[in-house]
């Protein structure tokens, strides 16, 4: 029987896949940027008046997080420590500017609807947090996965908030009528205070599900 020998520099087969799985699960669920870390709340409240806007905003943050993580990871060995935060900020700003131009060119109505919140991704804690917390210590592939996972986690919560607000506010989801003409439109969930309440309730549900799953896991171990 032959035994495979590994150099120590590279990961044995299966290790990368396991790490990738853990990274995805952590970003998207266990350490969800909004529900657990309470990051990126400002944009999450402001742009979730409709499911479509929430989805585009989520995609924008995901794009920025993926490519920022990739570049930061590629440059991590060459990056002077004293200026690393400003370098990360510059990289984020570059991708956000490109994204903003792309939105203006190909999805201008949405660019108008999202307004200043697309340029404000530069100050969103998620891309910066992942670049500093993950991409500086990991390889490009895992870093991109981490960016994608956190972006997806953010998008998922945004989409849920956007869908609930739009459904309760207009009786539609992504512009499609779900509730009939009998439904009386309500401005409350579309208002900023309504956004806070919807997001708060969603976080309560999210944590209740996580807690229940954790207890079930503990019980299974016992």
């Amino acid at each position: 029987m032959t035994e495979q020998i590994h150099c120590g520099q590279c990961n044995p087969p299966g290790v990368f896949a396991a790490r990738a799985g853990r990274t995805m699960l952590a970003g998207a669920w266990n350490e969800n940027p909004i529900a657990i870390q309470i990051l990126g709340i400002c944009s999450a409240l402001a742009v979730t008046r409709s499911a479509q806007a929430a989805l585009v905003m989520g995609a924008a943050v995901t794009f920025t997080a993926i490519f920022t993580n990739l570049l930061v990871s590629l440059l991590r060995r060459f990056m002077p420590q004293s200026v690393r935060l400003i370098v990360q900020m510059l990289i984020i700003a570059t991708f956000v500017s490109v994204l903003d131009e792309l939105l203006k060119a190909f999805h201008p109505e949405m660019s108008k609807e999202l307004g200043a919140y697309v340029p404000l991704i530069i100050t969103n804690c998620i891309p910066m947090g992942r670049a500093e917390g993950f991409a500086l210590r990991n390889g490009p592939a895992l870093s991109m996965l981490d960016g994608a996972a956190n972006g997806l986690g953010y998008t998922g919560v945004l989409l849920m908030v956007g869908s609930i607000r739009e459904l309760a506010g207009n009786g539609t989801i992504a512009g499609f009528r779900i509730l009939g003409d009998w439904y009386v439109k309500s401005d409350f969930t579309l208002s900023p205070s309504g956004a806070f309440i919807v997001l708060g309730l969603l976080i309560v549900c999210y944590n209740a599900i996580r807690l229940r799953a954790a207890r079930a896991k503990e019980a299974a171990h016992d």
Partner: protein, 217 residues
């Protein structure tokens, strides 16, 4: 590799800044024609809407409808968009049935831009359309609702001229022919709109060429 020296840091920062500058500059340059094309389409759609024309779904038809029905004519120092009814078997010459002029100014939060049109046969305001408005959601943004825009339609040009402009008054108190109910809870946006619309209106009324006194160029 030693990455802590000042010279290394300066070189690294310069190279990265140049790379980022190239990327953003390249994206801006490459995407500009797409953005301009979109802006033209937005303006054309707004013009067709304010002139009461149906907006075609595809861009080819949009350009065709615009070219067929809209014409820009210079009256003195003022460009006026005219809606023309193309010549038919019964009407040998194209007829101008409406005029539109742009209006713009500072709103409560951001700059507001739009178009106002006048029905030349009925001598009334035909419609107003906003091409750019970003006011307080739920308050100033109500200006963009069809209900608010409908309040302008049918107001007599003569009544506005005699009263020195339209007046946006407290909701529910409009009595005079030149008065319109303002947006509830958005007095600053309403005041700004009143000023912009009156400026656009007076630009036409104070222009001798528009009143047929000087002929057009």
């Amino acid at each position: 590799m030693r990455t802590s020296g000042s010279l290394y840091t300066i070189c690294f920062a310069t190279l990265l800044a140049a790379l980022c500058g190239l990327l953003t500059g390249g994206a801006k340059k490459y995407l500009k024609p797409h953005q301009d094309r979109h802006m033209d389409a937005v303006k054309a759609k707004a013009m067709l809407e304010v002139m009461g024309l149906k907006i075609p779904a595809n861009s080819g038809e949009l350009a065709e409808t615009y070219n067929r029905h809209i014409m820009v004519t210079r009256y003195g120092d003022l460009d006026i968009y005219e809606r023309i009814v193309p010549e038919t078997r019964w009407a040998r010459r194209p007829q101008v049935v409406a005029w539109a002029v742009p209006f713009a100014g500072q709103g409560y939060i951001n700059r507001i831009e739009g178009l106002i049109s006048f029905d030349l046969q009925k001598q009334t305001i035909k419609d107003i359309v906003f091409t750019s408005i970003s006011e307080t959601p739920g308050l100033g943004m109500k200006a963009n609702l069809p209900e608010f825009r409908a309040r302008f339609r049918g107001i007599s040009i003569d009544a506005i001229y005699k009263a020195d402009g339209v007046k946006l008054v407290k909701p529910g108190t409009a009595r005079q022919p030149n008065e319109i109910d303002a947006i509830a809870g958005a007095s600053m946006t309403s005041k700004s709109l009143e000023r912009m619309i009156n400026e656009a209106f007076m630009r036409i009324m104070n222009n001798p060429a528009c009143r047929g006194e000087g002929g057009n160029d």
